[in-house]
Amino acid sequence: MGRTAGPRGNAARLGVVTLALIAATGLATACGAGDDGGGGGGGGGGAATADGVDDGTKLTMWTRAATRPQSEALVKAYNASHKNRIELTVIPTDDYQAKVGAAAGSRDLPDLFASDVVFVPNYTSSGLFADLTERVDALPFADDLAQSHIKAGTHEGKKYVVPHTLDLSVLFYNKELYKRAKLDPEKPPATLGEWDEQARAVDALGGGVNGTFFGGNCGGCGVFTWWPSIWAAGEDVLNKDGTKADLSSDTAKKVYETYRGWVKDDIVAPGAREETGTTWTGVFPKGKTGVMPMPSTTLGLMPKDLDLGVAPIPGPDGGKSTFVGGDAIGVSATSESADQAWNFLAWSLGEKAQVDVVAAHKDVVARTDLASNKHSDADPRLVTINELVEHGRTPYALKFGQTFNDPNGPWLTLMRNAVFDDGSSLDKDNEAVTASLAD
């Protein structure tokens, strides 16, 4: 090898450097090609039937890791009883939006894709889903489908998605720790104040036991677990169009204050400050946390020997609410097997799938008429959760992801200032959230 300097060396290395840079930014171009990604189209013609077609077609489907067990169970049961074959791809939750966006740009979306219900309005307004209005309306149980999901997937009067998995935020509390702390294990908190007292009582046990936990560096966690306390007081956090935030109200302040107190007095388990949402549901099952909000989808995944109770998330002065989250699912606008894809969707909402698959896994059913079934009747915790659906809300905003889920977005700044700082910048932070929503 000769000397590294010299004019040709410069040029060559500059080329390499530029190439490396473009490889990094090329992410952006890889998905930009193709003409207008929107528009309905696709969807394979044919008469819309309530059942769809089961003719041995291979279908592709995407879901995010957060709701993997539910999707896998449904797909497995469907594949075992139908000629159609669904190939399910699970994508890391944090990457899901980027992946869908990239695929939409290059028209590579799978036949079916589930989405966190809060991102659905953005997708429907961009024309990513095929119109399912006729098919949904033809279902005999159309009116019993979880309406918060249907509403999120309705754009300009047309329905684009059906509920796939319902994920509600509820309080989990450790009954054994409650007993040790001389608390009544059958009396979970009914107000934010009681929640505070009980968390502190459990925390006082010491020896590695903590009162509560939350994902303090995770915007999605804050939305999911904090907002129900505000809703429980009868207030809303967004206007109807999702273009204006009201996250600095007196009720909201009371909620932040409670969390701030937990941080200040070290009632939370270590790691809350830096919890980005990847491991926040892994803390409670260790059995050393008193009472914290958790996703209802994790109930079936808890250790068998963990004696846990379930309660609604209360507001400052009582009341109860929940974030009706989870995934809605639709047929992509570019799918050429819409009838076959619909066959899966129609089946997944039927009584057999909802009871024998969804309810059997201790999950929330997507139909209100099945809220009470043989599995829920055997576990009162499931009844608590199922009954919460009607008290819960699903927020609607086109710019939801970039405002609330973005780890560098304005809502996370508000959350952290309000809880890890003194909360004095709340009004300014709320304005930043509104600005992002109206962007």
Partner: protein, 336 residues
């Protein structure tokens, strides 16, 4: 590294060339590189001519560069001038909105400041340590191969895998590192490796140093071993001590290798993404947002390819400028 033709060899090549009237400099270089495989002076069918062969040799690379570099670059340029949402696609030219919007982004200047700070810290620490390691394992002694391998080993890991590994180690909820320090009695409370802006930056720098020190050590080691023994011997004869030998002989003769590592390290750090994306996601409190993360965020969180492309173009321009300046500086240092 690519084979280089020094100016001296180039001149020799020209002199011995039998046919030098009608060729451009470029073709001549290509021919020179492959001279051994060429037939005698031109003649015969055109596809056997030197020009055709030269073009043939250049074609694969030219195609590769065009398809994977020039075309994407042009597309990014077009994107940066257009209103181009990720989900909806191209909506036509809106220039220069994407560029003027950049400074409205509240994270833009902090990201530039942070990226520069990170680059300086990483470059200084990494190259210092790499040089130290290279000096340690420079001599061939029994057992030195073991240490060379150990130092180099982390470099064999992908950056994303290494970041995930450290993310697991650093985690206060599931990681062993904090518990280990507590068990040893070095700290009283769980350590929050990624919890504050400073600790997040230092934890990331530690990961990068661990991962890349061995790689840069290898480059410097090659450079060290190219320094002839006679020079050292002569210096010792003249009574130079270790420090003088290092200052007056090792460092100056190592300059080409140092220049290469400096360039690689600075450019790599300016483009830092994976490690922060996985370890901190730009947190806590947006304290570790790098410029490439900002591009990613524009494209995939805010779903706006237009501003992402505009940012990319600016970063590209800045990087080109920095590299040119760096080369200039190094060449001046070389000549002095």
């Amino acid at each position: 590294m690519q084979p280089q033709v020094s100016d001296r060899t180039a001149a020799d090549g020209r002199r011995t060339s039998t046919d030098r009237t009608s060729r451009t400099l470029r073709t001549r270089r290509i021919i020179r590189t492959h001279r051994t495989s060429l037939p005698g002076p031109a003649g015969g069918p055109w596809w056997r001519s030197r020009k055709a062969k030269g073009l043939g040799y250049a074609a694969p690379t030219a195609t590769f560069v065009t398809v994977f570099f020039v075309l994407p670059l042009l597309l990014v340029g077009q994107m940066s001038l257009s209103d181009w949402p990720l989900l909806a696609g191209d909506r036509g030219i809106n220039s220069p909105e994407n560029y003027t919007d950049i400074t409205d982004n509240t994270l833009f200047w902090p990201a530039i400041r942070f990226t520069l700070l990170y680059t300086v810290i990483v470059t200084v620490v990494l190259l210092g340590l790499a040089l130290l390691l290279a000096l340690l394992v420079q001599e061939s002694r029994p057992g030195v191969g073991f240490f060379r391998t150990v130092y180099f080993l982390p470099g064999a890991l992908g950056l994303a895998s290494a970041s995930l590994l450290f993310w697991g180690l650093y985690s206060p909820t599931t990681g062993p590192l904090s518990a280990l320090l507590e068990g040893l009695g070095l700290v009283d409370d769980p350590v929050s490796f990624l919890g504050s802006p400073t600790s997040a930056l230092l934890s990331t720098v530690f990961l990068i140093v661990w991962k890349f020190a061995g790689f840069y050590m290898l480059i410097l080691l090659v450079g060290l071993q190219r320094i002839p023994h006679e020079v050292y011997e002569a210096a010792r004869m003249d009574g130079a001590d270790r420090w003088q030998i290092f200052r007056r002989i090792t460092l100056p003769l190592l300059r080409p290798s140092l220049a290469l590592t400096l360039l690689l390290c600075a450019t790599g750090s300016l483009l830092a993404f994976d490690q922060f994306f996985i370890l901190t996601k730009g947190g806590p409190d947006n304290s570790t947002v790098t410029i490439v993360q900002l591009i990613y965020r524009e494209a995939f969180q805010r779903l706006d390819l237009g501003t992402a492309a505009a940012l990319s173009i600016i970063v590209l321009a800045v990087l080109l400028l920095l590299n040119v300046l760096q080369f200039r500086g190094l060449r001046h240092a070389d000549e002095s």
